[in-house]
């Protein structure tokens, strides 16, 4: 082979297309067990998406009554009986990790089932493809209309169809905002034009993305935009169930008529192209596993129907692992499906997934709904008072995470002879414990002054500073308790500084 001068041969690049127009996909309607399953998943997904914000949940007078609410303004996340504060975000992080591992689990067991059934892109594309069939007719009618000139009838049909697209998109984009505010209130505000601008902006953006991605981009999103198909090809192994065209049974393909004439016996594939016709991403599964296949299994339904018509056994296209494919080629019995799905890899995923879930549930049950944190003043570290006593200042935060106001008691633990008062109290009313009313679902910030009441003794100790260590001053704690029925306790350790420094 001789080396070419790249500059010379580069001329050829003028004749080839570096960009490719999208090939329209007009999937044919099909019925079958997988299609019915897809209908079910679609109905459930859409019902959850549109219905959830409207579920009411009584939390008493101090909290919103929306079952699922992401209250960004107040930094709270409500989900039925669970309320998450920002510092408990690890619960949300845990859910995301569970979602990730759940995807690993599903992918290693049954391939791209997420892509094929539950992914929003799939659900909405499917919905829009049903709209296509409703307005334009099935595959062949759609193809004809696509090629037809722009007559008034075609313009009318297109306007109607895109109008329905837009209506669905608006309903989709509009529903999103209800997760972030009280749905009935926001609904009223939205239509009266008094909602926050971000509500309209969000609705507009999500309406347009739904309209464009669901109505026009469709499988292009899966093939070119979404990172998940690329990750999934790495997640799949030879024991994952994927939609497989059993070429050892189907090939050589040929119609029933040509099979009669053929010299050598043909395979089961009658080359009816039904698998291609029903594919929502427009691929030919008979070319083998490929990035465009979202494993929605509609081709299985189509092929089974064709096989039934010609009186051949079903499953020419079927869920099958690469290992089983090899076995079947050799005429061996395939692995039972349960054994395929429950193997060490999937069981480990399942174990990790369940462990995280169980740990989170445990943590949820154990978490305290009151909390104290203390920040000691560093500037100044201490204040010398005129009678020789020393005062330290602390900023205390009391968290009441219950959805009702609570009375808390904050007490000093250690530091005998000291007393405290707040910046709203008189120094003369300093005491060992304070009783405070903290509003529902609130963090209360307090300035607390602690006075070490050494009095006359202090006079002595100022001359003999070394005795301070024996007094045990230095470390002490603020203890938070709730005197009500629910109770609960938290403490926060801190230090008390004197001119001689503090005990270590």
């Amino acid at each position: 082979m001789t080396a070419h001068d790249p500059k010379l041969s580069a001329d050829h690049s003028n004749e080839i297309g570096l960009y490719e127009k999208r090939k329209s996909v007009f999937p044919k309607a099909i019925d079958g067990p997988f299609r019915r399953f897809k209908w079910l998943v679609m109905a459930v997904c859409l019902a959850i998406y549109w219905g959830t914000p409207w579920i009411r949940w009584d939390r008493g007078p101090y909290a919103p009554d929306q079952a699922v609410l992401i209250d960004l303004a107040h930094r709270r996340f409500f989900m039925f009986d669970i309320e998450i504060w920002p510092h408990e975000f690890y619960f949300v992080a845990g859910l995301l990790i569970m979602a990730g591992i759940g995807l690993f689990l599903v992918t290693s067991a049954v391939g791209r089932a997420w892509c094929g059934y539950a992914c929003p892109q799939t659900v909405w594309t499917d919905l829009f493809q049903h709209v296509d069939r409703l307005i334009d007719g099935d595959r062949n009618a759609q193809l004809r209309l696509q090629k037809a000139p722009w007559t008034a009838a075609k313009i009318g049909k297109r306007a109607l169809k895109w109008g329905i697209y837009l209506a669905i998109s608006f309903a989709t984009g509009g529903a999103w905002i209800f997760y972030f505010a009280d749905a009935p209130t926001l609904q009223y505000e939205f239509w009266t034009g008094t909602a926050a601008p971000v509500a309209y902006a969000t609705t507009f953006v999500l309406t347009m993305t739904t309209f464009i991605f669901g109505g026009f981009m469709r499988e292009q999103v899966c093939i070119y935009m979404c990172p998940w198909p690329r990750i999934q090809t790495a997640m799949l192994d030879e024991k994952s169930l994927i939609v497989t065209y059993k070429d050892w049974r189907g090939e050589p393909r040929g119609s029933v008529k040509s099979a009669v004439k053929a010299a050598t016996p043909l395979g089961d594939c009658i080359d009816c192209m039904q698998c291609v016709a029903v594919c929502p991403t427009g691929i030919d599964i008979r070319e083998g596993p490929q990035i465009g296949c979202i494993t929605c299994a509609l081709c299985i339904d189509a092929c089974d129907k064709a096989m039934a018509d010609v009186g051949r056994p079903r499953g020419l296209i079927d869920y099958c692992t690469l290992v089983d494919a090899e076995k079947e080629k050799k005429g061996e019995e395939p692995t039972p499906v349960l054994k395929t799905m429950f193997r060490p890899r999937t069981l480990i995923y399942l174990g990790v997934w369940s462990a995280i879930g169980a740990a989170m549930l445990f943590a949820l049950g154990q978490r305290a709904r009151l909390d104290i944190s203390v920040a000691k003043d560093r500037n100044p570290e201490f204040v010398m008072l005129s009678d020789g006593t020393v005062r330290n200042a602390y900023t205390i935060k009391l968290r009441n995470m219950e959805e009702r106001p609570r009375t808390f008691r904050v007490a000093l633990e250690g530091l005998a002879g000291a007393a405290m008062f707040t910046d709203e109290m008189d120094a003369t009313s300093a005491r060992r414990d304070l009783t405070l009313r903290v509003p529902a679902d609130t963090t209360q910030r307090l300035r607390i002054y602690v006075v070490d009441q050494r009095g006359e003794e202090g006079e002595h100790h100022r001359e003999h500073g070394e005795h301070h260590r024996e007094r045990g001053h230095g470390e002490f704690a603020f203890v938070l308790t709730a005197p009500d029925d629910e109770g609960g306790m938290d403490r926060s350790e801190t230090t008390f500084t004197t001119p001689e420094g503090h005990d270590e």
Binding site: A3, S9, L18, M217, R378, V383
Partner: protein
Amino acid sequence: MSKPKIDDATGVETVGHEWDGIEELNNPLPRWWLWTFYATIVFAIAYCVVYPAWPLLDRATAGTFGWTSRGDLDHEMKAEASRRAGLLAELDKRTVEQIAADPRLRRAAIDGGRAAFKVNCIQCHGNGAAGSAGYPNLNDDDWLWGGDVATIHQTLLHGVRQPGDDATRMSQMPAFGRDGILTPAQVQDVVSHVRVISGQEKPSGSSQRGAEIFAANCVACHGAAGEGGRAFGAPKLNDAIWLYGGDRKALTQTVTNARYGVMPAWGSRLDPVTVKMLATYVHSLGGGEEAPASAAPDPATAAN
């Protein structure tokens, strides 16, 4: 047009380039990707037109929207000002004593005062209001002129030793050493006495002589026991707190030359509401006293 070359292994056409037998497959990019790229260019051009974009010599192009980050800030500051306007109007109508009696207004005034303190006061009194030599610590319970909120307010409004302000806090301790009222030895004796009454030294011959000099020269303002006199802004000498230091060197310097600290009259520099908020904040720092000025806080009796 020549027939596209097809790669045998993949069934994909090649772009026709070949380097030592290595060829490039042509997997064409989707056309919409190209259009997206063009769209970003259009967006960038539009952005340059409507927003500040091109750097010039001393500023950037303004953009047709007239947007500036300063304008944004201004907008936010105005929104914040209008949010606070009602509260500030309420504070304006009330006296500092009335604010102190209303928990809600008091809270607001403390928070507002904290912010104003950070801008106007920390240069001398320190970020934590702990002061330093010559600048009083505002956290403690020792007050030259009084620690109830109205007195603090008065001190803030008129300042300390501000010429041209009739109500300013004015006191003038004689420079006992410099002006020859006391000899250096007598100054040392007075210093000894002051260190005795403040519990820093044991009585001595020097302090006994100093006691007599103190009785003759100092009690008029500082009181017989050195308890100070707020009417004159005379510091308490029998306590643990020293504005300029309680060691012999610092006290010698004070008695010899006297000290004249100053503070601006904030009434002529800040708006009345800010001064009220500052007074409320300073009063809340832990050493604030009940009005009218009562005994200094005595936590020992409040213990339970």
